[in-house]
Amino acid sequence: MSDNEEDIIEGSDEEGEAMTASEVLQKLEEAWITERMSPTLEKHQSELVDCMLDQINQMSENLKRCKKYDFRLAIHKMEIDRIRYVLSSYLRVRLEKIERFAHHLLEKQTNLSNEDLSILSPQEAAYAKDYASSLEAHFQNLVLQHVPENLRTFDRGKMSVKPNLDSYVFLKVKQATPGVLLEDDTGEGRDEEVDFKEGSQYLMRYKPIMELLQSGAVTLI
């Protein structure tokens, strides 16, 4: 098992830096909390998920070679369980959102110019499509085919539920960012500017900080 010490995983960030397993885990945990707290679906982090899955599979393989009463066994198993908990909670909360916003997300997906910008991972996109079409088939079978013909049309646009980007969220600043503009969209013309200091915590609307969240300057808490 000692070979894990040197495990360096190809990084998923733009600079192409290699990350250690513990850094990947740290990032995954951040992504998990952010996803838990965000009113909308964040960009998928398949690289982090796949990397951690590899890590725990590899570790489980290693553990099989361990003696049954090895002192390390229980500890490593416990750690695997903890990581698995984060992973499944993360994926589950994404699936919940995908089901809720299925039509909206699919619409966004078809308007994409570049695959890399996709919020959904390929598997998630397939899931969303399946979900939307089974929902539609279900409505057809259950009700629509039994009602008069002029009422049978099914308008996806009307079914679509959008996330409320005006939701208030708690956030923590990771990189100081001066002059964050909080636009006032209530028409009172009270735009405000806030200087984000590193380590500060705020409660504010999601929309103005959406980009900072994507760039990693802030995280949700």
Binding site: M78, E188, Q201
Partner: protein, 188 residues
Amino acid sequence: MDSIEIEFLAEKAPVTIVPNFTHDKLYLISGDVGPFTAGLPVDIPLWLGINLRQRGKCRLVAPEWMDVEKLTEIKEEEKQSKVFTQMPCEHYLIVTQLLLSSAPEDIPNAQQIKTLVKDIWDLRISKLRSSVAEFIESEGTHATLDRLTLLEINSVRPFLPHAFDQLHRISKSAHGSNLSQTTQDIQY
């Protein structure tokens, strides 16, 4: 967020233990721990510390701030100060509860510490409640929550952000903006 999830996060905090066994370094995915030498203190994650303690493999050492004198000081400061003071540990309440429930005999003056930490928590929560009321009356658009710990923030969730969602919705529609599109909030 569930308080269980916050407890999960708090369990990553480091704790000092004195092991009664000797073992090489452990190469965990989340980082290396050890080596363990019987009788020599070593820092490990709290979840591991509690597990080892339950298996009778170590003694837990109270963190530096978990001390009657220090906590009394913090409590006084919190009482005097109008704003929130900096806590010695992000998860002070959870760490105290976890340590005291798994190894009360390892922590000197456990009972007093429990009361002090609870007092500090109560002081801060009542401060938080009154500032929430003040904040809503001030009709601000955002709030600064420096030095509040995660569990404290969670105590006003989902009520506070949700109240703001509604306030925002009202002021938006009062100014004639169109809200025809269905949006849905997710509440935690």
